[in-house]
Amino acid sequence: MRVAEAWRVALDALRANRMRSALTMLGVIIGVASVVVLVAIGTGTKQKVEQQVEGLGSNLLLVVPGKIDVGNAPVVSPLTLKDVDAVSRVVGDPSRVAVTVASGATARAGNRSDFTTVQGVLETTPTVFTRSLARGRYLTGADVDTSRRVAVLGASVAEALFPDRDPLGQQVALAGVRFRVIGVFAPLGQSLGVDRDDEVHVPVTAAQRLWGTQRVDGIAVKAPDRERIGELGDRIVAELSRRHPDTEFSAVTQQQILGVLGDILGVLTGVLAAIAGISLLVGGVGVSNIMLVSVRERTREIGLRKAVGARPRDIGVQFLLEAVLLTSIGGLTGMALGVGTALLVDAVSPIPAAITWWSLALAFGVSAAVGIVFGVVPAQRAGRLDPVVALRAE
């Protein structure tokens, strides 16, 4: 029997039981659509996080005490501003070195308050990281050198404390100590569920005095060129290790951060896809079930076809095509539904979703494969039917 003829017969069979075919397809449609949507959400989240990490600034090298790895506990930093000077000498350009000493603190202005993160930084921060101001000015070297109590507010802190007036020149109390607002950051938005505008920058020297410490939590370096970034990291780590023999230091690049984050999100996407895949599997079982019904229902037809010369293979191919057609049509419909849902989610909800060609190809391939896998048993059963018995069936 020619393949075109077999397709026609299979299509006729599906048309003859429209409702049943549609319901069987629904299982596949839901399965494929959920695979497409969940993979799109996973991919979209990953892309957004990558953009944000890239957005921190280019050629960034983060130096922290301890090992950077998933699940490692943070280490109390032995670093001080003297170490920062040493790192600056290694880099050869102090304007490429930024530091942070951070702690949570309550910020008050008038009768309003906001719990936020206070970061003690150098005046180099906007150069090293990509940060821009909406209003006012950033910290200067003089501010840092003289421990001046001035502050630059993140967008959401400014909004919380000064919803209806200009924060510039106003007083804000951080952990009970008054600072003068000299600038407001342009908004950054959220990253991995964290509000990146919820912070206040003050001179590192003022922050250290505020908390009564000499420590610096971490150092960030903007490397002069991308190729030698690893080597520079090694030299900085070597210098710091020499100064603090008891502590381990790590220097990580954005690429390494992206790698770790990418791995986590990749696993997450995989888990989501696997859960969706289970529903596709259930849809496949439905196809198998309905094909067995179809074979039983058309036993006499099978007997007749065999009597007039259909070989077991001809009958098997006919029913296999019917199953593949069910899952393929269901797969295409599910893909359309999934793409539509993903675009809708991306447009109207804060959850990012990105359609990838590979997820569409995978979903369609899997649904067609489900048709073959779950169609084979009913098709073989049909092909092996004894024509005498089949012709006599009710």
């Binding site: 007997g303 065999k306 009597a307 007039v308 010369g309 259909a310 001809d314 018995v389 012709l391």
Partner: protein, 310 residues
């Protein structure tokens, strides 16, 4: 039309053929050593009561089943040496079947039903349709090409089935109670058509029947009882003995010692098809002539489920 056999070769040759069914581990012999030869162009009636083994014999002669003993040669080929696909091809090329219950595909037009065997011969759609249409013309249904089975009367349905059996130009036409589901007038017409085709085309006609009036029209009668051939008489002999071994009445069929080897008697297997009369009534509502899908579809759709589930 000519049968596709070399000269001198019997259409079917059975030598000491037996068929034993295994039912729940019990051996039930349905045929016990049957030997017979069907020559090209013959007109043979196989008679016997229910459970006699005549349906089993027909399934064997048609290559639908294989003997458990003996030698069976169909169209010059030993059935035992053939694989399942080869046996299917042999059926396609050598045998045409006509069943009591017609066995037409319900959602398929008459012409496509007739063309079905040609599908499995790998013939293109256009040629299939041409040959099927020509064959329908020969059985007097040239005006019903695009009707579906439920738009045809019982007699017309059986004519479609006969056209389907002959469209492949087979050596043997096997008819299993071809008039069993038809009223006597329609049955007579179908019988006359079969005899006419047998006379014209040289196809051997083997007809299984329990109706002795029908059997008496054949030039040769083979009587089967209890799984063996009880008599094999040619037309001359029939003239002498009228009905040899046909119904001595010495014992009722229900007391036959041979167990009902066939799971069901042939006459009981047909679904409740409309008789010729009611079928004709149904077609009377339809316009004649060319394709009537548009008009007939609502009627068809309403009745399709019962036909499709059969």
């Amino acid at each position: 039309m000519t049968a596709s056999l070399p000269a001198g070769v019997p259409a079917i040759e059975a030598v000491d053929v037996s068929r034993t069914y295994q039912l729940d581990g019990v051996s039930v012999p349905a045929l016990r050593g049957v030997s017979l030869t069907i020559d090209p162009g013959e007109y043979v009636a196989v008679v016997g009561p229910s459970g006699s083994g005549k349906s089993t014999l027909m399934h064997l002669l048609g290559g639908l089943d294989r003997p458990t003993g003996g030698r069976l040669v169909i169209g010059g080929r030993d059935v035992a040496s053939l694989s399942a696909p080869d046996l299917a091809t042999l059926r396609n090329e050598t045998i045409g079947f006509v069943f009591q219950a017609f066995h037409l595909l319900p959602r398929t037009s008459a012409v496509d039903n007739v063309a079905l065997p040609l599908v499995y011969r790998g013939i293109g759609a256009r040629q299939r349709r041409e040959r099927a249409a020509a064959m329908l013309g020969r059985v007097g249904l040239g005006h019903r090409l695009n009707h579906r089975p439920n738009q045809l009367s019982g007699g017309e349905q059986q004519r479609v089935a006969i056209a389907r059996a002959l469209v492949t130009d087979p050596a043997v036409l096997l008819a299993d109670e071809p008039t069993g589901n038809l009223d006597s007038v329609t049955g007579e017409a179908v019988l006359a058509l079969l005899e006419q085709l047998n006379a014209e085309s040289g196809v051997a006609l083997v007809m299984v029947t329990h109706d002795h009036d029908v059997a008496a029209r054949a030039r040769r009668q083979i009587a089967v009882r209890d799984g063996v051939v009880r008599s094999d008489t040619r037309a001359e002999a029939i003239a002498f003995h009228d009905r040899p071994l046909s119904g001595p009445g010495d014992r009722p069929e229900t007391l036959s010692p041979a167990p009902s080897a066939e799971p069901r008697s042939a006459s009981g297997s047909g679904p409740g098809r409309p008789s010729g009369g009611s079928g004709a009534g149904a077609t009377g509502r339809l316009p004649h002539g060319t394709g009537t899908d548009g008009i007939g579809s609502s009627d068809r759709a309403g009745r399709e489920p019962s036909g499709g589930a059969a």
